[in-house]
């Protein structure tokens, strides 16, 4: 049982971490497209859009790398879970308000394989993965 849990942790760390690194790096490559994507959701004051557009992708990459490497896994899994929960809330409110906007989750040149899954389903799966990573290790004493 313990070995199974450990294997699941390593697999999920690689998957979830790589996804965050990928999501962050595509946005780092094109911060203007990400700023436009944030703007399209109408949830942030204009003054916060550009600072967020240049810093959030780096945060995603750092959190993703930490998860892959297992550095402060519980804390970084929590960061990833909180980010995913916020993305999910933004997507749901956009759907409820009938905004026809591109998710912007993985930058402009999003992978076709990722595009085939609805963003909300994708984020729910990611949220489950990050929560598992948060809980799979005991809190350090």
């Amino acid at each position: 049982m313990k070995t199974l849990l450990h294997s699941a942790e390593i697999l999920l760390r690689a998957l979830v971490g790589a996804l965050f690194v990928y999501a962050g790096s595509t946005k780092i490559a094109d911060p203007r497209a990400f700023a436009d994507a944030i703007h399209a959701f109408h949830v942030l004051p204009v003054a916060l859009i550009d600072p967020l557009a240049v810093s959030l992708p780096i945060f995603e990459v750092l959190v993703g790398l930490s998860i892959v490497l297992g550095w402060r896994l519980r804390e970084n899994a929590l960061s990833a879970a909180l980010m995913t929960a916020v993305f999910l809330a933004v997507l749901i409110q956009a759907n409820l308000r009938g905004l026809d906007t591109d998710c912007g989750c993985f930058g402009p040149g999003e992978w076709t394989a990722l595009r085939s899954v609805p963003p909300i389903v994708r984020d729910l799966a990611l949220l489950a993965g990050t929560l598992f990573l948060r809980l799979c290790r005991p809190a350090p004493g």
């Binding site: 203007r32 240049v54 350090p140």
Partner: protein, 163 residues
């Protein structure tokens, strides 16, 4: 012994805040080093839509963003005397030779956005250049009908070509 909830929360917060600040600092610093950094306050990217014209505000934003190509369709001499910053000369009267000269710089913008201007509302050089480019397969080629007159009347910056 399990740590109390406050100890866990404190450890979580420390890591998250540390990474957040590191990301903000790295994000702002790397943005400053980009050739076309994002401004501190968001300016919407102009919607360059096929078949539409740009007004002065959107044209100015496109020029400021530096991510599109701006073409001056007036005779080359006019471009030399003064043009919109960053604009390349593609005069209607000398289209083929100028097109060949621009070469790769134009090819890079085959998917647009490209904004073309000429002297003022009454000139049609920009429409001619737009049509030629569209026929050659360039996409998202739009006209700024106000042209050089609207640009200079608004007191916006100019660039002069050095021989």
């Amino acid at each position: 012994m399990n740590p109390g909830p406050w100890a866990v929360t404190a450890r979580d917060s420390r890591t998250i805040v540390l990474l957040l600040f590191a990301s903000l600092a790295a994000g702002l610093a790397s943005n400053g080093l980009r050739p076309h950094p994002l401004p501190l306050v968001y300016v919407a990217t102009p919607p360059v839509v096929e078949g539409s014209d740009l007004d002065l505000g959107h044209f100015e934003a496109l020029v400021a963003a530096g991510e599109g190509l701006v073409l001056d369709a007036r005779p080359e001499l006019f471009h030399r005397v003064g043009h919109v910053p960053g604009a390349l000369s593609l005069p209607r009267e000398d289209f083929d030779a100028a097109y060949a000269r621009l070469g790769q710089r134009l090819e890079h913008f085959r998917a647009g956005p490209i904004a073309v201007y000429c002297s003022d509302e009454s000139c049609d050089d920009s429409r001619f250049v737009q049509m030629r480019l569209q026929r050659m397969g360039f996409r998202r080629v739009v006209v700024f009908p106000g042209g050089w007159d609207a640009w200079t009347n608004a007191g916006l910056g100019r660039e002069v070509s050095h021989p």
